[in-house]
Symmetry: C2
Subunit: 264 residues, 2 copies
């Protein structure tokens, strides 16, 4: 189970300011705080300005890898920025993200095959996000086939079933959970990832929804979370869920984390 810290994202105002000012201390601190909370990867998004994203993302990768050892999840809508960031990244990065939208797919595929990293594949097809789990599965199947056809290893593909907010869409969480179940059943060996924070967008006490959604997603078979891992109990609830699901023999990981003072 992977936890990818989502905090270093320039869609957040404070991060955008730090990117524009090249505030190394802030970025480094945010990186360290997430790793200390248990993040195995850190997402990095530096899209704070129209002109400088390529150099800003390269800068961010260097700053973050200067203070933490975890690999990064390179997050950009710009293939050029992703390419430049992958070139300076030490170790094997994750690319965030490819999808079934033809322009996006075609622009990123050569890079994905060249980097030989992991890649997040969103269940977004040519006409958008399918309403049904079966529809999302078919998008996933098409993406996996084309990625594998281009030489990407199946276990390096992390399919994101997409979750919208339950505030606007009554069945938003259930369709996502069903999609995870279908992907794990019909595309064995493919990994799944969930950007869990989306589910509670616009709803108070979002951490509650994140925790419950993480628990349900683990039951469905999720392999990774893109989430805010800092002090909101997400990792703790996920570890509790793994224990309940019989996936933590002798409570080993749960107790080890507790004894290290890192559970809550």
């Amino acid at each position: 189970l992977l936890f990818i810290g989502e905090a270093l994202n320039a869609t957040r105002k404070r991060v955008a300011e730090a990117v524009l000012a090249h505030d190394e201390e802030f970025i480094a601190g945010l990186a360290q705080a997430q790793v200390e909370s248990g993040a195995n990867y850190l997402d990095v998004n530096a899209a704070a300005s129209n002109n400088d994203e390529v150099s800003d993302l390269v800068w961010m990768v260097k700053v973050v890898q200067g203070v933490v050892d975890v690999p990064l999840c390179i997050d950009s809508a710009s293939p050029k920025a992703i390419q430049a960031a992958c070139e300076v990244h030490r170790g094997v990065p994750m690319i965030n993200s490819i999808s079934g939208e033809p322009m996006k797919f075609n622009a990123l595929l050569p890079l994905v095959t060249k980097v030989k990293g992991k890649v997040i594949a969103l269940c977004i097809g040519e006409t958008g996000i399918p309403k049904t789990a079966q529809g999302r599965l078919e998008v996933a199947r098409g993406l996996v086939e084309r990625l594998e056809g281009a030489g990407v290893e199946r276990e390096d593909i992390y399919v994101d079933p997409i979750v919208l907010s339950v505030a606007t869409e009554h069945g938003a969480a259930t369709v996502t959970l069903e999609t995870i179940t279908l992907i794990k059943r019909d595309l064995p060996g493919v990994n799944t990832i969930l950007a869990v924070s989306n589910v509670g967008f616009g709803i108070p006490e979002r951490a509650l929804l994140n925790n419950a959604m993480a628990t349900l997603a683990l039951h469905a078979g999720i392999d990774a979370f893109l989430a805010d891992v800092r002090g909101k109990g997400l990792i703790a609830h996920a570890m509790a869920a793994k224990l309940l699901l019989g996936q933590d023999p002798f409570c080993g990981k749960y107790l080890k984390t507790y004894r290290a003072g890192k559970l809550m």
Copy 2:
């Protein structure tokens, strides 16, 4: 979804002391705190001494119903104490509990049919707690058949699938979740209840396990929890889970509880 507050139980030292001293203030306060936290029922167990359980339970029922309006879940190993408590109880009580152990079943059946209340039926058969979900389902089926045969309404039966601690039994939670799923599928109309706190016995940060177990049990179809409802986030996590499972249209109950300042 029912929440049955479990705190008024004389197996807890402080409650036993209050029962022995007939400390009305303590018992009344604990009753009120649970109802304020969202309990729909309160479990009452007064087994603090060998000789006076009958009169102590009658006293407890009167004290509790003197300060709160919710019905009670009459909890005793003594049919005599249950009978006496039901006689003074205002409204329709729940009886905790009957099981497939022949002596217990035969002793309590006449009382259950006479009281016409709700009844908790434990998945414990003649030879104990079955290891498998299928085994527990068969115990449940036998209990439901005999209770219905004696005139008990199906919707008044709350089957408890039993959960042991995951500390001692690796698959303790999964067998329980599977049992709930089977009961809801094969015995439609029968209700299910989970004494959720057992799952984390002997493990630190039990509230985490309670919350995650409640979420998973709701996914499996649980109808009621016997739990500590006071300030540990259980009700909040359960409401979040209901929202995610598409069972709270327009976030109605979740937002209403939040606005009343009672979510967390």
